[in-house]
């Protein structure tokens, strides 16, 4: 029997009937056509499917869709809605070369955002540990770590500027 769920994705309200065994990953990719979130393993080990659920990172492949009723989800598409300026994390990843095949990128960005929501002055060790659930086979992580540090600097500067105003 299908369950009715109401939830927000990237600020938009959705009301759906879903089978109880379907994952959040399936629902956002297949029903909402938000395919920026990837599926790399389906067992919560690779991090490619990471999204924010009420502001905290989760593996969307392990999260049942019914469990997000009343909650708010943010996916990679919510980082910089189409046409809008890129998020500093995205900008930095482009600049450092931290994107190769791109399949881990959305998950990396969401894990980075989860970290930068907590601190804008992360140490290299903190960045690496924040990414420890996100696997990448192309980049060797260096340019991703560099990008997150760069994004933190920029976000800190932006925050300071805002305060001055």
């Amino acid at each position: 029997m299908k369950h009715h769920i109401n939830f927000k994705v990237n600020g938009d309200d959705y009301s759906l009937a879903v089978d109880p065994w379907r994952t959040l990953n399936e629902v956002i990719r297949e029903d909402l056509n938000l395919t920026g979130t990837k599926l790399g393993c389906g067992t919560g080990d690779c991090g490619a499917c990471t999204v924010l659920l009420d502001g905290r990172s989760v593996s969307s492949c392990l999260t049942l869709a019914v469990s997000v009723n009343g909650k708010s989800v943010m996916t990679v598409e919510g980082l910089a809605p189409s046409g809008e300026e890129l998020h500093p994390i995205q900008e930095a990843l482009i600049q450092t070369g931290g994107i190769q095949c791109g399949f881990c990128t959305a998950g990396m960005e969401m894990s980075a955002l989860n970290l930068l929501n907590q601190t804008l002055s992360p140490s290299e060790t903190e960045i690496k540990s924040a990414l420890s659930g996100n696997l990448c086979r192309c980049t060797g992580y260096n340019q991703i770590v560099e990008a997150i540090s760069m994004a933190a600097d920029k976000m800190r500067d932006n925050a300071a500027e805002k305060e001055e105003q």
């Binding site: 990837k38 790399g40 996916t75 070369g97 095949c101 791109g102 990448c136 192309c138 060797g140 340019q143």
Partner: protein, 758 residues
């Protein structure tokens, strides 16, 4: 030194980075078509068995199931990448008579959704007659061993021999000879994007296949032959691909099944593998048993090498023949061997097939070379750096029957890493438990051998230019994440004096892009497709130069160039037109015909292996915990020679990525097998290095100019898959006295050895 290039050599951001950053890049599994069905493959639970009977009736009766096929429903045509030698084509898209490994494809289903397809799997009844299986190369070649393929009673499917000089005489003249046996293990490509294929039948019966592949042209040809269709009736499109590393360079069963089932049902059909399927059945790096005998003079000069390698190919040839061929060539690269002999055997076992994987035989072959160099250095009383300097291949060296090395920065690489790492001091003074070690590589820049038997140039490019000052580059070259689309655009922008944003690109669509390109493997794309792009650009420039010459009535001695969006005289830049104006003039002169040119590249007169060689050296410093045997890599230093660096950020990314893979190969990654069964089938049990495992690392580009390469460029990033394991291994030996002869270097092996030495 000021670069003579404007765009080549610059940190140009990758042109696909923004869509990827936004999550807008479409990979195969992101696509859906109206009425699309979901496919799933039933795989063999047995390592070796005869298929007696398959009953698909119950599965077909399940509501939502649209089709079920077995090998008997297909044209039963074998395929394999070595088309030049049809005997080596040993694989059916779906098993016909026998299954030969756990995971071998037996049947396929197309259903209205994934859940139904999965349920149908359980309803297909297969009756097997189990056969004795063999999982070890030594047992597989023994008389009386189970025969895996009827055509090959010895289970040795490929024999490859190389010989030059007189090895026996060389050993007799040597002052020091040593023989060693090395064993290397199997690892996974572990690309993040599981394989996926989506097929659609056009109204006229032709097939379009979107697939996660490194080789659209090869898939097109082999799909055509296995479906008994004409090549031109198959269109293969490579969307964004989430990494390959050699694991996506063949036609695969799900590509065939998607196309076959789409034809049968009239609906689009998509197959996407699970990670578990990838691990259970996926291609992998060849385990090799390497016997190596080397002879030196007292002063360290290499005199002879005798190399025998047995490759555990698993159940099918896959890209094994090429790996067999290449590991013997790699054995003769890097150093000067006046006398050399190689015998490689590709051996069938009832395990998942091994195939191409980053390095293509080099990580195994060079592990033996490099460890043996260090062992010899110790016994000869020569520093490993000095022993390498003495024997290093240099520009102009000839490898008999292979090629003349047109550029080598190897000596500078060795010197650079020694200096960067403070080698001489550290090799003497590091405390117990700390160690420093070296590994080096040489690698090919694409292959010359034409085992695929293509009738087309190895790479091709088409350039169309327009009066609005833009260009359109079309090429079948496949960007699988390494960034080749950006590099090829950089090369074209440089040649035509345009900006990156002026160039539109269509790549890797077999019906739209020029025939042909053999794909992304063997570090061939930059050199081969890059040369094809330059060839096309030169043909575009000729009429543009003519137009400017005519327009300004230039003396024929004027040198004309494309630069900064203009076509102009070099000495009198005011005699010139904008790029768009020049195009318009040529078009006018040709009564409206658009200005289009086609270029190509096929290596000729460059021997039978590769047109150019990359080189490099790497030093690792490690700390070994004597209580736990755990190895921590503290630092890596790398110096490499990839000719002209076209995109520094991309090259650095390739390097860091190779260190990640090399680190895993050396220390943590392996397939744990129980007979033919892969036991570690997820990323928890298959341990790939994470961000926290990455050591600090420094890189030095040794500048050379490769005459055969586009703007002096050659291989980057694949050769680097080789040096990391021997460098770490040598450092572990330096730290603990444990010399690893059988990869990977695990804490258990280190502790066992420490105990023994106590």
């Amino acid at each position: 030194m000021e670069s003579r290039f404007k765009i080549v050599g610059q940190d140009v951001p990758r042109t696909d980075a923004e869509v990827k950053a936004r999550g807008k890049a479409l990979y195969t599994d992101d696509m859906k078509l109206p009425g699309m069905l979901h496919g799933q493959i039933l795989r063999s639970p047995l390592a070796h068995a005869r298929i007696k009977h398959i009953d698909t009736r119950r599965a077909l009766g399940l509501p939502g199931v649209k089709a079920v096929i077995t090998g008997q429903d297909t044209p039963k045509i074998k395929y394999g990448n070595w088309r030049l030698f049809p005997d080596t084509q040993d694989e059916y898209p779906l098993a016909v008579d026998k299954v030969r490994f756990i995971g071998d494809e037996v049947a396929a289903v197309a259903a209205i959704d994934r859940d139904t397809a999965e349920e149908a799997m359980e309803l297909i009844e297969v009756e097997y007659e189990e056969l004795p299986a063999v999982f070890d190369v030594d047992l597989s070649i023994k008389p009386g061993a189970p025969v895996i393929h009827d055509y090959c009673p010895t289970n040795i499917s490929v024999n490859r021999k190389i010989k030059y000089g007189d090895v026996e005489k060389g050993f007799a003249e040597s002052d020091y000879v040593r023989e060693d046996i090395f064993n290397t293990h199997s690892v996974s490509h572990a690309y993040l994007e599981p394989c996926s294929a989506l097929a659609q039948v056009d109204l006229d019966g032709r097939i379009t296949l979107w697939t996660s592949t490194q080789v659209p042209y090869i898939v097109q040809c082999l799909l055509a032959s296995t479906l008994n269709m004409r090549e031109n009736d198959i269109r293969v499109i490579k969307p964004f691909v989430g990494g390959g590393f050699g694991g996506k360079m063949e036609l695969r069963a799900w590509e065939f099944c998607a196309a076959f089932l789409a034809r049968q049902t009239g609906c689009p059909v998509k197959f996407t593998l699970t990670r578990e399927e990838e691990f259970i059945t996926g291609r992998r790096r060849h385990p090799m048993k390497i016997y190596s005998k080397v002879g030196f003079r007292k002063d360290g000069t290499l005199v002879a090498k005798d190399l025998k390698i047995q490759l555990d190919g698993g159940a099918y040839n896959a890209m094994g023949p090429t790996a067999t061929f290449l590991c013997g060539n790699f054995g003769a690269m890097l150093y000067r061997y006046p006398n050399y002999r190689f015998h490689g055997e590709h051996i069938y076992t009832n395990k998942p097939p091994a195939s191409a994987m980053r390095g293509f035989g080099a990580p195994q072959s060079l592990y033996a070379t490099e460890i043996q160099m260090n062992m010899a250095a110790e016994e000869l009383g020569i520093d490993p750096i000095d022993l390498r300097l003495k024997n290093a291949q240099v520009s102009g060296d000839e490898i008999p029957d292979v090629a003349t090395i047109s550029s080598s920065g190897f000596i500078d690489c060795i010197k650079a890493v020694a200096e960067m790492s403070d080698w001489k001091e550290k090799r003497k003074s590091l405390p117990a438990g700390r160690g420093i070690g070296i590994g080096c590589y040489s690698f090919i820049s694409g292959g010359v051998f034409n085992w695929f038997n293509t009738q087309y140039p190895f790479s091709a490019a088409e350039v169309r230019v327009f009066s609005d000052g833009t260009a359109h580059l079309l090429t079948m070259a496949s960007d699988i994440g390494q960034g080749s689309d950006t590099v090829l655009k950089q090369i074209l922008a440089e040649e035509l004096g345009l900006k990156m944003g002026d160039i539109r690109m269509t790549s890797a669509d077999t019906s739209m892009t020029p025939q042909a390109d053999l794909g992304s493997w063997g570090s061939r794309v930059t050199l081969m497709a890059g040369n094809a792009v330059i060839d096309a650009a030169k043909k575009i420039k000729e009429p543009l130069f003519g137009a400017v010459s005519a327009r300004f009535n230039l003396n024929v001695i004027h040198d004309i160039e494309c630069v900064n969006g203009r076509v102009q005289s070099k000495s009198r830049p005011d005699y010139g037109l904008t790029f768009g104006e020049a195009v318009a003039m040529v078009q006018k002169a040709n009564r409206g015909e658009p200005l289009v040119a086609r270029g190509s590249y096929t290596p000729r007169g460059k021997g039978l292996v590769t047109p150019a060689f990359g080189f490099g050296a790497q030093v690792a410093e490690v700390d070994v915990d004597k209580e736990t045997g755990l190895v921590e890599v503290k630092h890596m230093w790398t110096a490499h020679d990839c000719g002209t660096v076209i995109n520094p950020r991309s090259v650095e990314g390739q390097l860091a990525g190779s260190i990640q893979m090399g680190l895993g190969y050396a220390l943590s990654e392996q397939f744990v097998m129980d007979g033919g069964k892969t036991l570690n089938t997820n990323f928890v049990d298959y341990k790939m290095p994470t961000a926290s495992d990455m050591p600090p690392s420094e890189l030095f580009h040794v500048e050379t100019y490769e005459p055969e390469g586009p703007m002096g460029a050659k291989e980057a990033g694949e050769g680097l898959a080789s040096p990391t394991a021997p460098a770490i291994s040598d450092a572990v030996y330096h730290a603990t006295g444990y010399r690893c002869m059988d990869l990977p270097i695990t804490p258990e092996k280190i502790l066992r050895n420490l105990k023994k030495n106590k």
